[in-house]
């Protein structure tokens, strides 16, 4: 049975399939970044900061219902923020166990995998790692 995470990834892939070129894709990501609800000041703190060398990412995680994890993210760079919004859309409010073992293929499919490269140092890769760790921690707990 496909997990909710896979379903969401498919949805995003379809959404991006509509775009003809990289420019439209980036415009969409930028608009996702702009639309992302900014983090509460209480969450935009150093404890939640993931320091990339190029841009910074904040990630807040909360326990949801039924062993789900709820994520909120933010970044000082708008493209990073848009991509973080996509990650949150895929992983947030999903069962902790599914998060822990999620295989994030959608970035490959939409042609933006390079943004998740460890060499990019935009904080996104570390963010995903962090999200999975939260998932793992809560699975163990539950």
């Amino acid at each position: 049975m496909a997990s909710v995470i896979d379903a969401r990834q498919e949805e995003i892939a379809e959404e991006f399939a509509m775009f003809g070129d990289w420019m439209e894709k980036y415009e969409h990501i930028i608009s996702l970044g702009k639309e992302l609800v900014p983090l509460d000041d209480a969450d935009r703190v150093d404890d939640n900061l993931i320091k990339g060398c190029q841009s910074r990412v904040w990630l807040a995680a909360k326990k949801g219902v039924q062993g789900h994890v709820v994520f909120h993210a933010d970044s000082d760079a708008i493209i990073t923020k848009g991509l973080a919004a996509l990650m949150v859309r895929v992983l947030s409010d999903a069962p902790a166990g599914d998060i822990a073992k999620a295989d994030l293929t959608f970035l490959d499919e939409i042609g933006l995998h390079s943004h998740l490269s460890p060499t990019r140092s935009n904080g996104l890769q570390a963010m995903v790692k962090q999200m999975k760790l939260y998932g793992l921690a809560l699975t163990a707990q539950g």
């Binding site: 990289w22 415009e27 930028i30």
Partner: protein
């Protein structure tokens, strides 16, 4: 662009310029991070490896002789290029960072004592900061920092104030990699010598752009990296005055740097420059570094400086009227670098979209965090220029910035 600068002939020598990036022709504005290599350099290295490689010095066979001669003749090319008195003053190191660490860990350990102070500037690259910080902590030495004027030049008054403390060492960059400022090395060195300081100059961003004459500048140490002078990676030069180098203890121990080795009678060291060159050197790199300086001289240093000046001026012109754009570094004398930010636009976003347009710029703190902190910015977008860049590419850059900014705002 100067009519006579043979830009097409030069571009033809850089295979990478035939590349497309994201379906667009590559416009490479990141030479300050690392320059591309002309065929003459790539082939010098490959040819050496294919036809005459051998370990050098002390070999009796023909290949060892040939390789040694090629390597030592490259050293002499460097000597001539810097107008140093002798090849004893030309040390092959791994790069600028390695050169500065060598001085810090030998001259520095031997000459700095608790209570001493040394003097750096706000515009230094991390490589001309961290080795001194580490040493300062180890030896109980104070680090004085010369701040900058609005335009990115050194604050001369502050330089004098710190100088009155009689620092043992004054270390500063010839050209700022973040701002492009060209420092008046000769004048500052003279002032530093007046108070008895030893002077180290970081030439990483100068040798790629300017004629450098260490004799005329009278600096004590000067260092640069091959990969920024159109040469290979893994090799650089530390120039030092012979008397200073002679008095310094060795740093890395091993083969080549010794005279005789004995467990019982102790070990004695080789003469200059070998005393500081432990182990098998980067032979192909040294030879190709020589080839890169030959190549620069063939183009002509004055022509190169002029060409890059035209590009820098043009970049200022065409970027200036972009809404909300601020330049960082507006010194009267600049080389090879234009650094800027656009209001409300994060450098990472701008760099990412420019990349999609085939335009390579560097974004971030450029290894000058103390400068960025002082300016109160996370970093800049930096376009830097080399022999192969064109006015048309600069126009593409400006158009690219406009387009990206319109998407991001």
């Amino acid at each position: 662009m100067s009519q006579s600068f043979p830009i097409d002939a030069i571009r033809a020598q850089f295979p990478v310029l035939n590349r497309e990036v994201h379906g667009k022709p590559l416009a490479y504005f990141d030479s300050a991070a690392s320059a591309h290599k002309p065929l003459a350099v790539i082939e010098a290295q490959a040819k050496y490896l294919a036809e005459r490689h051998s370990n050098i010095h002390r070999g009796v066979h023909a290949l060892a002789q040939e390789a040694t001669e090629a390597y030592e003749s490259a050293r002499d090319t460097v000597r001539a290029h810097l107008n140093a008195a002798s090849t004893k003053e030309i040390l092959f190191v791994a790069g600028t960072t390695d050169g500065i660490n060598l001085v810090a860990q030998t001259w520095g350990r031997a000459n700095l004592n608790p209570g001493d102070c040394i003097m750096l500037t706000r515009m230094e690259h991390h490589s001309n900061i961290v080795p001194w910080q580490m040493l300062a902590e180890e030896r109980g030495v104070e680090v004085l920092v010369v701040e900058l004027n609005e335009d990115g030049t050194l604050d001369g008054d502050m330089f004098e104030v710190h100088l009155a403390r009689e620092p043992k060492l004054v270390a500063f960059t010839h050209v700022s990699n973040a701002l492009g400022t060209v420092n008046d090395v000769k004048t500052w060195t003279k002032r530093a010598h007046d108070v008895g300081a030893t002077v180290l100059v970081d030439g990483a961003q100068a040798v790629p752009h300017l004629a450098v004459d260490v004799h005329d500048l009278d600096v004590d140490f000067y260092t640069f990296s091959g990969h920024k002078t159109y040469g290979p990676t893994g090799i650089g030069i530390l120039y030092g005055k012979e008397a200073l180098l002679d008095a310094m203890p060795p740093w890395r121990g091993g083969g080549e740097m010794i005279d005789t080795v004995s467990f019982e009678k102790g070990t004695t060291f080789n003469e200059l420059p070998y005393k500081f060159e432990a182990g098998t050197p980067h032979i192909s790199g040294g030879i190709a570094l020589g080839a890169s300086l030959d190549w620069m001289n063939e183009v002509g240093l004055a022509a190169l400086t002029g060409h890059e000046h035209v590009l820098t001026m043009h970049a200022h012109d065409v970027l200036a009227d972009i809404d909300g754009l601020t330049f960082y570094g507006t010194a009267p004398c600049k080389a090879g670098v234009v650094s800027f930010l656009v209001d409300g636009v994060h450098p990472y976003d701008l760099g990412t979209l420019l990349d999609q347009l085939g335009i390579a710029v560097r974004t971030g703190h450029h290894c000058t965090e103390p400068l960025m902190d002082k300016l109160g910015i996370p970093g800049t977008v930096r376009a830097s220029f080399g022999a192969y860049n064109t006015v048309e590419e600069v126009d593409r850059l400006a158009a690219g910035v406009r387009r990206a900014v319109s998407m991001l705002r």
